[in-house]
């Protein structure tokens, strides 16, 4: 077969292949399985707190205290939401949380990639020992390192600033581990070819390795986003000024020592979980893959 004939042949063969694999994904939906009889009630059980939160956020304060609980509010109290926005710097908290989360996610993607690549591909003295040590930090509960970290952050002069929430979280052992495992699975010939083609180590990482690591980077991004967005304990001990609070911390201001404005708390809660819910729907496959491949719980 001549060269051009071979090219034509394989070009002709391509659409056929696509047709075969391009099955309409919608045909897989709504196929009944007996498992659904188990899964639907379980899913409903999981949803109950969420539903209750939404219902409570639309009740009056008195209704929230009623026993037995009132499932259908007499009138829908939309003003709970506006009251939250008026009584607390909610927009500020939202912005703070967004800034912290975005910077931490970006930092993790960058620094975990660099560290993960070094552990995966660059041979240096003590590499495996250092990697084990990094991994071992995953086993230390946050409560143990909380105070030393606090002291370091205070010496850096970051207490009661967003920097306190960002700097200690810019890289994590989890992301390093996940990325290293993925980088090792890429064919090394690609990197060797790029090095012969003239790319530096960093060039190889940014031009070859990272563009091929989309799924795992998405996983690291999603998981880091969730952890950072929902973090409560660390902001609680480093942030005092209401203007520097994140959402999770701000929510507690609705809980007083003598009285809790449950309806307002729940309205604020609903607003704070919307971005997380949205992210989860968009990126749930990366989230699930991250949990599944790392064997870690969120």
């Amino acid at each position: 077969m001549s060269m051009s004939a071979e090219i034509r042949d394989s070009a002709g063969a391509l659409p056929a292949l696509e047709e075969e694999s391009g099955r309409d994904p919608r045909s897989d939906r709504f196929v009944f399985s007996w498992w659904h009889l188990v899964l639907f009630p379980l899913a409903f059980l999981m949803l109950i707190p969420m539903i209750w939160m939404i219902i409570t956020s639309l009740q009056t304060l008195n209704e929230t205290r009623h026993f037995p609980p009132i499932l259908v509010p007499s009138s829908i109290q939309w003003q709970n939401y506006t009251e939250v926005l008026q009584r607390a710097p909610f927009a500020r908290w939202f912005l703070n949380t967004l800034v912290v989360t975005v910077v931490v996610v970006a930092g993790n993607l960058l620094f975990c990639s660099l560290a993960g690549y070094a552990f995966a591909r660059i041979k240096f003295f003590g590499r495996d020992v250092v990697f084990i040590l990094v991994l071992a930090t995953l086993m230390i509960p946050f409560q143990v390192i909380m105070i030393p970290t606090f002291i370091i952050v205070r010496k850096l002069g970051l207490i009661d600033t967003l920097g306190a929430l960002i700097v200690p979280n810019l890289a994590g052992a989890f992301g390093i581990f996940l990325l290293r495992q993925f980088f090792r699975s890429l064919p090394i010939e690609l990197e060797e070819a790029a090095r012969i083609d003239g790319a530096s180590r960093l060039g190889v990482l940014f031009k070859i390795v990272l563009p091929l690591s989309g799924p795992v980077l998405a996983t690291v991004a999603v998981i880091t986003f969730l952890w950072t967005w929902n973090d409560f304990l660390w902001p609680l001990i480093t942030i005092y000024n209401p203007d520097n609070m994140t959402l999770q911390l701000g929510l507690t201001t609705f809980q007083g020592a003598h009285q809790t404005n449950t309806h307002l708390l729940m309205a604020a809660n609903v607003m704070s979980v919307i971005p997380v819910l949205f992210l989860f729907f968009v990126a749930q496959r990366f989230f699930i893959r991250g949990i599944a491949t790392s064997g870690l719980k969120g």
Partner: protein
């Protein structure tokens, strides 16, 4: 364009495995050099040391007069084609070809000229917008070649570039590669375990075994005058028959064959008989009885497997070759006849070989004692 020189190059991996021992070899400017040997012989390691992907333990490698031991891969001015092609999956064919030029900061319009030139030379112009996953094996191979060619390197390194192609395509690409080399005249080092590729493509062939260079010569000379038993058994298809024999007073005896050979010292020897040199015996010729077992008609010839009395030497052979086996007191050998001569299985015949076609090797060292006359 400069040549490539190995000067006493060795490679020892951590853990003590020695992949290449004391390799000295000069590859001339524009030469097509083949490294061949069974897997684990060090041929790929030797190539990777040239590319800068493995550090050299001792010795020097130079391109022209420039020692490149400590140069990074990018500064060596070499290009390499990998066994699995290593095309960047996230880039189009055009970007794959342009990557090396872009990394060297070549202006965009110049890159376009070079990429288009190489792609039309290789007949891949209509693939430039595709991604590697959308290409067939042969097309990928071509793109990999193109990526190396577009840089116009001082030396071209190919690591078993045909091993992922099917048999028919392999023959075609083999020819294409050879034509390309004749046209461009770039110094080329080609690694393969396939002795057919070694015989057909190279100006010279270097046979390696356990990291040691066995012989470097033109394919023809390598075939006609193997330096030792390993090369004799490795080069040639079907391989040379190697029979144990005893030499006394200028006569070598193996089984029922007694062959007078000039300049033969006494002692244990191994006779090397190429399949195509074995012929049905005429009266009075020194011969051996051959029992036909399997007949393989090829069209242009017939390969006949059978047994003779005697003891075979199991030649160290390539990884995908079947080792000759002992059949009781008899040794299994192979002959190649003209297509008109077609014995039937079970038939007994007498085979002869002209004395000047016989290779004689030392029974202990394996080195050649008496080389066959050409």
């Amino acid at each position: 364009m400069p040549g490539l020189t190995f000067d006493r190059v060795s490679k020892e991996f951590p853990g003590g495995t020695v992949a290449v021992r004391d390799l000295s070899l000069a590859i001339a400017d524009g030469e097509f050099m083949i490294f061949v040997g069974p897997s684990g012989c060090g041929k790929t390691t030797a190539l990777r040391m040239v590319a800068g992907l493995e550090k050299i333990t001792s010795g020097t490698i130079s391109i022209g007069d420039r020692v490149i031991n400590d140069d990074s891969p990018r500064d060596r001015d070499i290009a390499m084609v990998f066994q699995n092609y290593a095309l960047y999956p996230h880039m189009t064919v055009y970007k794959n070809l342009a990557f090396g030029l872009k990394e060297r900061k070549m202006p965009k319009d110049e890159i376009a000229i070079r990429v288009n030139g190489v792609s039309s030379m290789l007949g891949i112009d209509d693939l430039l917008t595709r991604r590697p996953a959308q290409l067939s094996g042969g097309q990928r191979q071509r793109v990999a070649m193109g990526r190396a060619l577009v840089r116009e390197p001082a030396a071209f390194l190919l690591d078993e570039p045909l091993s992922n192609l099917d048999a028919k395509l392999r023959v075609q690409v083999r020819g294409d590669l050879k034509r390309l080399h004749q046209r461009l005249g770039i110094t080329t080092v080609y690694v393969t375990h396939d002795q057919v590729e070694a015989m057909t493509m190279g100006d010279r062939v270097a046979v390696l075994k356990d990291g040691l260079l066995q012989q470097v010569d033109s394919p023809r000379n390598m075939y006609d005058r193997p330096a030792n038993l390993f090369v004799a058994g490795f080069i040639g298809s079907p391989p040379m028959n190697l029979l144990r024999a005893e030499a006394r007073g200028g006569v070598a005896s193996a089984g029922d064959l007694s062959l007078p050979i000039a300049d033969l010292p006494d002692g244990d020897v191994v006779l090397g008989l190429r399949p195509e040199h074995l012929r049905p015996a005429t009266d009075g010729q020194p011969s051996m009885e051959f029992q036909v077992e399997v007949v393989e008609p090829l069209g242009d010839g017939v390969i006949v497997h059978g047994t003779v009395s005697g003891t075979l030497v199991t030649a160290p052979s390539g990884d995908d070759e079947v080792l000759p086996r002992l059949a009781g007191e008899r040794a299994e050998i192979t002959t190649k006849f003209e297509p008109t001569l077609r014995p039937s299985p079970g038939e007994r015949m007498r085979l002869a070989i002209a004395a000047h076609h016989v290779h004689v090797f030392d029974g202990r060292t394996g080195d050649v004692i008496v080389a066959a006359g050409a």
